[in-house]
Symmetry: D4
Subunit: 147 residues, 8 copies
């Protein structure tokens, strides 16, 4: 059985790469999916539809174009991993977590213990909280391949 | 027809009070609902079930107790207003917005224009973005009472 | 038992008024709901949130504010009546009909026989096609009050 | 991952063909689906079930037969493109858009800027508005294949 | 708590009346609902929308008008009772039962033991099979009012 | 694209076989599914779980075992054909039709014109009514393979 | 706002009564609902439909009659409390918990700490675990009435 | 057509193995799925995320990690078999059964006749009750492969 794992959140460290390598090492039958993680391309996703004068509308158009992808991938995944780093607002990651929760779909949070308190609602609806990519790989290995 | 308006997010300014007064002034048939906004009480919501040694589990228990309330209220509302202030992470507000979006229920965001960019995904799924409580009151008045 | 009847479409003739009077005449327990039918007010629904330079965005904002109302009312109704007149594109009426159909909720179309062909998909998913408000009143009377 | 893109609306220009060629050029993994676009065949879809005297019933039968196909394809697609041309009522396209919206599924509108105003409700629920097939191809390429 | 009980099926005996009297006798808080049980009126439900030449279309129109009522009432009920008598095809009763089953809503069948075999699929999805109206009243009394 | 067509109802004529041959002749990409059509085997489906004294319970057990299959197949099909012959009660076919209708899934009825009246509710929720297997094949060919 | 609290599980101690008194003491706007808790009456719920020879079928009939009530009440509640005592199998309580979990509805478990391990799956899907009725009352008071 | 059969419950006898062998013997196209059945590994599923002081939280974490797997498999299966042995509380099996029931998905129970009474609610929502693995194999063979 093939599993689809959706990776949401932080794009400034290589955690996605670590998860992919871990899955490869253990030969787990996983297809990883994700929003576009090229920051500049993501911000410009709607530009092809016409330039905007107002920042709000440029962001709006790009977010919706990105939403075509993320909404579809979120509704298709089996397990999501939502990563919060130590910088930026990362409201999109919390938004994704809420979206997953409302769909009743399982997600794992990945973050350090210094942001436990502000993430308490996000963690409360998660199936697991991990602090390192290695832990996530172990969980995926167990869930997917353990006899 | 009675409308239920759920107020999510920031608890450090009096925006909830302003909305309630505005609704009263215009005699709008609105029942306002909200998470518990007493910060200390909210953090301690699970303490009655037994003290915890680990911060994570204390937060976890309290968040789930709070979730009994918020989940129910979110599934019952007609219109939500999600407020982002200029302090703190406010991931719970973004989480609520994602939850509302996944349920396909309408929400209005309320925030200043200096956080347009990090809120772009949250705004993209909203039905309106307001910058002041007065604007929200005007929208509610129009939506609910305009003939 | 109280029934809620949603009236969608054309705003240039008095068909809504005729339905209301008919319901009153027969003392039917109906609450009628509708989008805002004041054309100028509807087009300006989003203006309170800030003026827009581009027509597209002004329309976009107003449509979404109107959507807060229509989406809620459509999800609450028991029977909808969707009216197509002989002028204008009226794509919003066809959009509403598609929305109702996808929700599996019953609607009645109200239009003359000279637009049968272009409305065939809309009529095919309807529970009835009426040509006059009087006919709709008769149907409502039968459905709601016939022993 | 294979994506399914449903093409709804106008059948008098070659926009469907342009999208297919664009997808082929960029080797996008897309399966395109559509209602039957042969106008005469579509109008006659129900004739095999017996001739009708009344135009209304002939249209009714054919629309329902076509509905077996479109309903199924709409519930299976990942992304829809809804095209409005400059002729005819095209209520079926607006109906499809409303249907997609109620299912919470993403669609892109494709139309010129001279019909922005009558399409405002349809556009307000869309994830993007494009004016040319080339723009749609760019969006599909980004959404589906961008790393 | 008020309960809504939907009565479907046979219209040639007074079982509906017996259930209502039984509920009254025991002062059960029940609102009974039903399709229109006046046979001639039911067959003519669509006539107000225009006479039809073909029997099929007359039946079709009337059934859809009746469907506006039954579909709404079926989606609102708490308990349904589906009655099969000893005459006629009564496919509408079996259709209602299938509809209730697919919605996951509880229904009780009411029929004699000489039609157990042809009703086996209908009974298999029922919550109870009763042979007399008195038994149904007892079940309703127990379910609704037993402390 | 492969389509799944569920065949429900009458088991005494060879209409299933005719549909399969028609689909083969036209090389339609259809997987046909069906309840078990061996009457004796179907009635005995639950016997392996222990003999029953009462007819009711024997039927009950067998119907539920058959339900494991039919429920699953009904939830998986793309198009259903529900056949009513001229003998027997055939309540299971009407039950299946109601089940399909409540799921919002398309079905075609197949029956002679002498039972139009008792089948009016079943036909009213159908997407088409055919009188011969040849007509059904034509509809399937059009819906599935027409460009 | 009135809240509905469903009480599931153990019937041999007075925990239901304690919750009701606690709610009364704090004047909480709660309507309590429950399965029939009269053990003998519950076991005999189906007897009115005819005596059974086999124990299995007597239990089966009574459970289904009870299911008419519990299924309806479970789908209507806002908060459930599922109580596990120290005797008997109590599989019906675990079954109820699973049912609530699948519906995505919040429930609180109430049990001593000596059965933590066998209840771990039931607790993992709960919103809170309480050991005494007093704790449940405190949680209800907080969730329902805290400003 | 490939069928997925989920095996829930008791892990101390070889019933899973017997079902697999039976399916192989009859060459049934079945993919069997299951929770992790290695008891020690299952209890330790969350340990990789950090050791816990409190038993409750260790169980909690492990149950949630296991839930990522079971929730996904339960939502994907076609037929479930829920086995109750003669030892232990087995609340997780009853919880799974309730979960399946609420999703409206078919399951078969497998248990001896000495626990009919405490399992009556679980059996009442099942599609079949079997006492031996051989019976389950027969049912699967019939449901899946009978022409």
């Amino acid at each position: 059985m093939q599993w689809t794992v959706y990776l949401s959140g932080e794009i400034h460290t290589d955690w996605r790469q670590q998860l992919k390598q871990g899955a490869e090492t253990h030969q787990l039958p996983i297809t990883f999916t994700s929003a576009v993680t090229d920051h500049a391309a993501s911000d410009a996703a709607g530009d092809v539809l016409g330039k905007e004068v107002e920042d709000f509308w440029r962001d709006h158009k790009s977010s919706k174009v990105n939403g075509i992808r993320t909404k579809t991938l979120i509704e298709r995944y089996d397990i999501a991993v939502v990563r919060f780093g130590d910088k930026y607002k990362q409201w999109n990651a919390a938004f994704d977590a809420g979206y997953c929760a409302a769909l009743g779909k399982p997600y794992i949070t990945l973050h350090n213990d210094d942001i436990i308190h502000p993430l308490k609602e996000v963690d409360a609806a998660a199936m697991a909280w991990a602090q390192t990519p290695e832990q996530v790989v172990e969980i995926l290995k167990y869930v997917i391949s353990k006899q």
